[in-house]
Every structure is written in structure tokens, then in C-alpha cells.
């Protein structure tokens, strides 16, 4: 009898709290909104791309030709272009980004950190169309001059500008992890007579390793999806580039420039969505992995 009384109490207090419950439901719906959007995104992009996928299968990604007249759509040159440009960007951005992060969070005097971080943040907020614009204005002619090319719109140009856009991501994410390394460890090393650089190398970096890795993955995700700047400066040639000094086309740039002309519902239209789906899945995987890496790093 006493027990059932308590159960009743519980139920009744639940109903009393229902008074504030509608709000909880609203809040929950807002929080789950991101999940819903992601599912809708996958669904719609996949639905539009399904036609091309059933028609070409893996050739959509690995076929060598994108030809409107013969209605054959293979995206390999684009995939290659994307990977080439992204790889080049990361090769430049990783050393600069990581060393900047270390410098800002370990070496820089405290009162200078905020201003420097702010400038890096500003760099991150400059829209990609302006990066493209500046690349076109400065980097493109510079490339043509240095390498004696007829056009400075090359994979290397895109990589250079893209690295500038990726550095802030790497700096802010890995900087956060590096400054989270417990002071005790650093002091222990310093107390043993290690120099500042030895401490960073032997204590800070091993602990922050996973965070740095995650920041690189996020940087990769950002670089491979970058559209506007790349399409303005990479020359937009749908062929497999022979070198970094060749013009290239990337998947997002190709989608941006071809969507307007593709007839809605046509095979080309569907193929563009197919490429989009592949890009979406790549970034999904990379971002999820980055999260997992960070969380595992934090647990250890």
C-alpha cells in the first residue's frame, strides 16, 4: 500500500511538471533540427542523384569522360582535381597551421594572444569569394610570372589560396587542444631541466596529437568542399592534371559552374547531384572521424 502510494506520487509529480513540459518539447525539437536537416539533405541529394548512379554505377566517380553530347558522365578528372588541390593545400597549411598554434598557445606572451587569435578569426571570416578575388588579382599573375606560364590559373594557385583558408581551422582547433594540456605536465618537464622547445616536443605534442590530427581532418573537410575561391582560380579544365602547374577542375567548382546549365531532371543534372552526394559523404566521414579522434584523445 505504501509503495503504490509512492508510485502514484511519482506519476502525479510528472503531471504537475507537465505544466512546463510543452516548452521542453519545443526545445527538444529545435535541438533535433540538425539531425532532421542532415537526413533530409542526404535524402534529397541522393534522390536527385539516383538516376545517374543507377546508370553509371562507380563510373560516375571513376569514368574518365564528362561528355554532354554522348550523355556519358564520369567524374574521375574532377575527383583527381579535388584531391590534388586539397593535398597541396594541406601540405602547405599543416606545418604553418600547427606551428602557429603552438606558437600562439605556448610561446606568445599572454596579452598578445587575444589580438592574434582575433586576427586569425578575421582571416577565417573572409568569404571565399573574396579569397578567389584576391587570388585572381595577385596570386594568378604571380604564378604566371614565376613559372612563365600563359595562365597562372593552376592547381598550385588553388592550393596556395586554399591553404590560407584552411590555416585558421587548423590553428583554432589544434590551438584549443594544445592549450588544454595540463600545466602540471609541462612544469614537470621544465622542472627536469628541459628547454621550452624540448617540453613542447616531448610533452605537449604527444598529448595534443589527437587534437592536431582532428584539426587536420577538419581542415581537409573544409578544403575539399571549398567551391567558389577554387573555381575562380584553378583554371577549370576537366582533365587529369599532369602537374601542379596544370589547370584543374574540382568537384564543388564543377557543380557550381554546371548546375545553371543542366536541364532539371536530365542525366547531367542527376550526375551533378551524384557528385554532390559523394562529396557530402566524404565530408560526413571526415567530420565524424575528427570528432571520434578528439573524444578518444580527451578520454586518454
Amino acid at each position: 500500500m505504501k509503495m503504490s502510494n509512492k508510485t502514484l506520487n511519482k506519476i502525479s509529480s510528472f503531471f504537475v511538471s507537465l505544466k512546463s513540459q510543452p516548452m521542453t518539447v519545443v526545445l527538444f525539437l529545435c535541438a533535433s533540427f540538425s539531425i532532421v536537416i542532415l537526413f533530409l539533405m542526404l535524402f534529397f541529394v541522393a534522390r536527385e542523384g539516383a538516376y545517374a548512379f543507377t546508370k553509371f554505377g562507380p563510373d560516375l566517380l571513376f569514368g574518365m569522360q564528362w561528355d554532354l553530347e554522348s550523355n556519358v558522365f564520369g567524374g574521375f578528372p574532377l575527383l583527381f582535381g579535388s584531391l590534388l588541390v586539397t593535398f597541396g593545400a594541406l601540405v602547405i597549411a599543416i606545418p604553418i597551421g600547427v606551428s602557429t598554434a603552438i606558437f600562439v598557445s605556448e610561446v606568445l606572451p599572454f596579452h598578445l594572444r587575444d589580438p592574434i587569435k582575433s586576427i586569425i578569426e578575421l582571416l577565417a571570416s573572409i568569404p571565399s569569394v573574396l579569397y578567389g578575388f584576391i587570388g585572381l588579382l595577385i596570386v594568378v599573375p604571380l604564378m604566371a610570372d614565376i613559372f612563365g606560364l600563359p595562365s597562372g590559373q593552376t592547381a598550385l594557385t588553388a592550393s596556395l589560396v586554399l591553404s590560407l583558408m584552411t590555416i585558421p581551422t587548423i590553428v583554432s582547433v589544434s590551438g584549443e587542444i594544445i592549450s588544454a594540456v595540463p600545466k602540471d605536465y609541462k612544469e614537470a618537464a621544465l622542472g627536469l631541466g628541459a628547454t621550452k622547445w624540448e617540453t613542447i616536443k616531448s610533452v605537449v605534442l604527444p598529448i595534443a596529437k589527437s587534437g592536431i590530427l582532428a584539426s587536420i581532418m577538419l581542415g581537409f573537410g573544409r578544403a575539399i568542399g571549398e567551391t567558389i575561391a577554387v573555381s575562380m582560380i584553378s583554371g577549370n579544365q576537366a582533365h587529369v592534371a599532369s602537374s601542379f602547374l596544370d589547370a584543374v577542375y574540382t568537384i564543388p567548382a564543377f557543380i557550381a559552374t554546371h548546375m545553371g546549365e543542366a536541364a532539371v531532371g536530365s542525366l547531367e543534372y542527376s550526375a551533378l547531384f551524384g557528385l554532390g552526394l559523394i562529396l557530402l559523404i566524404i565530408t560526413f566521414i571526415v567530420n565524424t572521424l575528427a570528432d571520434v579522434v578528439v573524444k578518444r584523445g580527451v578520454q586518454r
Binding site: K6, L8, N9, S12, S13, F15, V16, K19
Partner: protein, 253 residues
């Protein structure tokens, strides 16, 4: 001088997850008197206090069995409106916790959320509450200043005024002076004595001198159980239980 019972606690048990914090407490608290709950830290004093206005409900893992009657009403009964309960049973916290608003808005907060008064009537409530908390003369010319501009002791009296503004019957105080200096503490203690003529006051403290100075009745709690309770004078002059005596003489705590 005899008092009526205001709060009647029967077989109260409280768990936080697996931890059994309050173990079968029976306790009667007299109306219009000050009752001090004292005991070493971690003995469950604050948890016991928070059972009176069901503030333990806020902690998701908490589980409560037993009854707490305030006046005629069992607060753990079906369909109790906890929000109304918390209006009737005001609470003052360990650290002064003014809201990031003006002095006036802090006191007016309770009446506003319960739609008890507005306009001129609200001004009156604010003034009356601040007077009752012995703060009016110090703040009447700067009611629109931020509450954070007040000193710690003033902030705590502001919190008391805020609790009084919703017209409570019982006031719970959870170590209200632990963050204050001796001068501010003396003022609050004096205030507690005055408040007891209109309200039932329950104060948690680990400071024995404070318990002996402000309270009419004292409850000694140890490991979630009541070891001893009675008139403050009696407990301090002639403790019945060995543990109480050890605690009062400072052998542990």
C-alpha cells in the same frame, strides 16, 4: 512560551543515486521560531532542508520517500504544486546569489513570476520586503543600481528580501553567513531573530556558536540521522548523546 508545530516530517528517506543521504528522519519544527540544523559537513543538513521545498527534485538522480507536512498539507502528496510550495517556503542560499538585475528587480522578481502585484502595489511590496530585511535605508536611493554593486552582506539581505517578497510562511536558510565577514554575519543573525516573530525559520549551519546565538531549537544531524533534538539551551548545556557532546566540544566536525 509554547509553539505550534509548523513542519512535521515523518520517516523521510532521500537517496542520490545509490547514496542514502537522509535515513528515516522524524522531526517536528515549531512555528514562529528559529530551528537550527547543525552537524558536520556531509551529514545531509542541506539535503534535509531542501526536502522542505522539494528543491531536491531539481537533481535528477534524487529519490525521496516519506512525508513532509507543512501546516496541514503533505508536500510530497499527489498533485502538489511545487511552484506554489516554493513560494510558501522561501529559500536563502549559502552564497548570496542576486540575479544580474537591479536591486528593485531582484526583489520584484518573485511577485512578478507569480503575478502577485504590479505597478504601485509592486513598489509597496518591494519597499516592505526591503524594510523587513533591514536593507531599505541603505538602498532606497539607488534601487535601480545593479545588485552586484552591493557588499556581500547587503547582497545576502537582498536575497532575504527577495524571499520575503512572495509572502512565504517558512524561510529556509542554507548556511546563509558562510560567505560573509563577522560584521555582516552579526547583522544577518540579528535579522533572523526579528524574522522569527513573523515566520518559521529553519537555518542550516555548521557553526555551533551561530546555532546557539540565533536558534530556539536545535537539531543535531549525523550521517543522515537525527542524533538529538530539542531546545537549543538544553542541547548546548546538557547534551544527552555522546556524539552531540563530542561535536559541541569540538572533538570532531
Amino acid at each position: 512560551m509554547s509553539y505550534e508545530d509548523k513542519i512535521d516530517i515523518r520517516q523521510l528517506n532521500i537517496w542520490f543515486g545509490e547514496k542514502h543521504v537522509i535515513r528515516g528522519v522524524d522531526l517536528k519544527i515549531k512555528a514562529n521560531a528559529v530551528t537550527a540544523i547543525m552537524g558536520p559537513s556531509g551529514c545531509g543538513k542541506s539535503t534535509l532542508l531542501r526536502a522542505f521545498n522539494r528543491m531536491n527534485d531539481v537533481i535528477k538522480t534524487s529519490k525521496t520517500t516519506g512525508d513532509v507536512f507543512i501546516g496541514e498539507k503533505n508536500v510530497y502528496e499527489n498533485g502538489t504544486n511545487v511552484y506554489d510550495l516554493r513560494r510558501q517556503v522561501g529559500m536563502v542560499f549559502q552564497k548570496p546569489n542576486p540575479l544580474p538585475k537591479s536591486i528593485y528587480e531582484n526583489v520584484a522578481f518573485g511577485p512578478k513570476i507569480h503575478k502577485m502585484a504590479k505597478g504601485k502595489a509592486l513598489d509597496k511590496v518591494v519597499e516592505k520586503s526591503l524594510r523587513s530585511a533591514a536593507l531599505w535605508d541603505e538602498v532606497k536611493d539607488r534601487l535601480n543600481d545593479s545588485a552586484f554593486d552591493l557588499s556581500g552582506g547587503q547582497q545576502q539581505r537582498l536575497c532575504i528580501a527577495r524571499a520575503l517578497a512572495v509572502d512565504p510562511e517558512v524561510i529556509l536558510m542554507d548556511e546563509p553567513c558562510s560567505a560573509l565577514d563577522p560584521a555582516a554575519t552579526a547583522k544577518i543573525e540579528q535579522l533572523i531573530r526579528i524574522l522569527s516573530s513573523d515566520y518559521t525559520v529553519v537555518i542550516v549551519t555548521h557553526n555551533m556558536q551561530q546555532a546557539s546565538r540565533v536558534s530556539d531549537y536545535t537539531v543535531f544531524l549525523y550521517l543522515g540521522k537525527i542524533i538529538e533534538q530539542g531546545k537549543t539551551k538544553g542541547i548546548f548545556e546538557n547534551p544527552q548523546h555522546e556524539l552531540t557532546e563530542q561535536y559541541i566540544t569540538g572533538e570532531f566536525g
